[in-house]
Structure formats: structure tokens, C-alpha cells
């Protein structure tokens, strides 16, 4: 931790900053809990053990990529497809970290690296809001990242431990909970005509490739089709929103 460095954004105490961080991230932790349970249960149903789940949630710490990986997981393990899928899903972190970097530039490099390892959509958004264009304090940044990280690992492991006791999660339609969650996440991005066209194009392409080439290539094909549609349409929209 680099809490010895001064926090420029606020004059409140470190304890108050950590409390504020926990209050801000609590709704996201509640929302992440069932997703973590589901991840652990689905991963063990695919043959991963509890240690695998703990490693994945602690080291990857990216729910979307982890759940997508479980979806395309098979034996022998399709390592290349898993890595490509992970890169495609997590490429957004390049932009998110570039945006947050100047707000933590006053912290030690090692601290920034550790803190950015636990940068997820939710705590990134909260940190950006807290910074408000200025700096963010070390206790707030690290406190929030730490509790959100531990929360995700704890519920993933709980899901991995309880999943086998409950039995095949697909009996309860739990496999479809993943699909429904991705529909909810996707709907959050469907804010413009361009994004709706991206979604339609990606869906059509992925379904077609799944029928022809098969899994897991539909992920790459669908993603590239959607991204291509956005790039083709993108120039004009940018001027209006800029």
C-alpha cells in the first residue's frame, strides 16, 4: 500500500476514505454475489476444481471473460480460443485504465500496478466518479479494489463448493442464467442505433459460424463482425456526440 503519499482530492482521514469506498461499492458486491456463485457452480460442472476456481477468480478477476470461458470450455481445453476470447472481452480495460491512470499518477508505481490488477467495471466507474477529474486517494482506491476482489473470490469458491452438492445446475435452468445475465449486460450497451446494429450483426454472424465452423470460433467471428460494423458506421456518429 502507498497510503503514506498525500491524497490531493480530499482532506478526510484514511479510515473515512475506506468507509466511503465500501459504501460506494456495496451495491455492486451484492450484484456480483449470485454471479460469482453461478460461475463457481458452472465451472465445477465443467470439470474445474475449487483451486482452479480460486485461481481464476483471483488472477483473472473478470466475470464476463470467466463466464464466457466456462461457456466455451471443453476437453481438450481450447487454450487459444480461450485466450482470444479473453483478449476480446477485456480489451475495454485498455481504455478504462488509460482514463483512470492520470487520477492515480501520484501513487507509487507498484501500488498502481497492484491496484490496476483489481480494476473491474464497477470499481473503475466508482473510482472515476470519486476522482471527478481530479486525483483519487490511495485508501479509497485500494480499499475498494480489495473488498471487491475478495468478494468475487469468496462467492466463486462458495459456488464451486456448493455446486456439486446441488447437482447439475442446468436442471434448474441455471445455465440460462448466464445467457440472461449477458442479455442484461448487452442491453446496457444498446443505447444508440449503431450499437443495436452491432448487436444484430454480431448475433447473426456468431450463430452462422457456430452452425458451420462450430464452437468456439463463433466468438471471434461475431465479435469482429460487430466491431467492423461499428467502425464502418462510426465516423459520422462521433462528430455528433463529440
Amino acid at each position: 500500500m502507498t497510503a503514506d503519499l498525500p491524497s490531493a482530492s480530499t482532506s478526510t482521514s484514511p479510515a473515512a476514505e475506506i468507509r466511503a469506498a465500501i459504501v460506494d461499492i456495496t451495491p455492486a458486491m451484492v450484484a456480483a454475489a449470485p454471479i460469482g456463485l453461478l460461475y463457481g457452480a458452472l465451472a465445477t460442472a465443467k470439470g474445474m476444481d475449487v483451486v482452479d476456481v480460486l485461481l481464476a477468480s483471483g488472477l483473472i478477476f473478470a466475470g464476463g471473460a470467466q463466464l464466457a470461458a466456462v461457456q466455451i470450455w471443453t476437453y481438450p481445453v481450447p487454450i487459444v480460443a480461450l485466450l482470444v476470447s479473453t483478449l476480446l472481452i477485456n480489451a475495454r480495460y485498455i481504455l478504462m485504465s488509460a482514463s483512470l491512470a492520470p487520477k492515480v499518477a501520484h501513487l507509487r508505481l507498484l501500488g498502481r500496478i497492484v491496484g490496476f490488477h483489481v480494476l473491474a467495471d464497477e470499481n473503475w466507474a466508482m473510482s472515476e466518479r470519486r476522482a471527478g477529474g481530479g486525483r483519487i486517494s490511495a485508501p479509497y482506491f485500494f480499499g475498494m479494489g480489495a473488498v471487491f476482489w475478495v468478494n468475487w473470490m469468496a462467492f466463486s469458491v462458495l459456488g464451486a463448493l456448493t455446486g456439486p452438492l446441488i447437482g447439475d445446475p442446468t436442471r434448474f435452468g441455471a445455465d440460462f442464467a448466464f445467457t440472461a445475465m449477458f442479455i442484461a449486460l448487452t442491453a446496457g450497451f444498446a443505447r444508440s442505433r449503431t450499437s443495436v446494429m452491432v448487436i444484430v450483426a454480431a448475433a447473426a454472424s456468431a450463430a452462422l459460424v457456430h452452425l458451420t465452423l462450430g464452437a468456439p470460433w463463433h466468438v471471434l467471428a461475431g465479435a469482429l463482425t460487430g466491431i467492423g460494423v461499428a467502425a464502418a458506421l462510426g465516423g459520422g456518429r462521433e462528430e455528433r456526440t463529440a
Partner: protein, 100 residues
Amino acid sequence: MTDQSATLVAILGMAAITFACRISGLLLGPRFRPTGRLRAAFDAIPPAVLTAVIAPTVLVTGPAETIAAAVAIVAALRSSMLVTILAGVAAVVALRHGFG
């Protein structure tokens, strides 16, 4: 490679890629601000990838999954993630029973 070691390689590889993406912003610095088509392409990544992952389940698995996905889409546009998940799961359980 055994399944166990392949699992470990996959997890560590996914972790390394994710870490590289998260750290890259610290190297790119605040001047990396894509505009125009590049920005549009970056913005499209999350919905395009999320859609591509679930498209086979939604479109080419069976009528129960397709109809339940339609129910979930309606719920997602009107309600919270929790309601969307509950509605989608309830629909797929009922429809799989009906079509089964």
C-alpha cells in the same frame, strides 16, 4: 498436455492477458484518446463480444432457449439485471418442460 495442466495454462494465460490490458493504460498515458472509427470500434467491443458468446444459445439451440431469450430481452429493456435473470430462467425451465 493433461487436462489438469491445460486448465492451469489456460487460467494463467487468461490472467496474463487481462493483466496486460489493465496495466496498458498506465503505459499509454492520458494522451491515448481514440477518436472516429477507432473509438467506435473500441466502444463496440463489449456488446459485440457479449452477443457473440450467447448467440448460439439464443438463436440455434432450440425454441425453448430462443423464446426464453426474447423474454429476457424484454425484461432487460424494462427492468434490472436480477429480474432479467429470474424471468429468463423461469421461462426456460417452463419452456423446456413444455417442448420436452
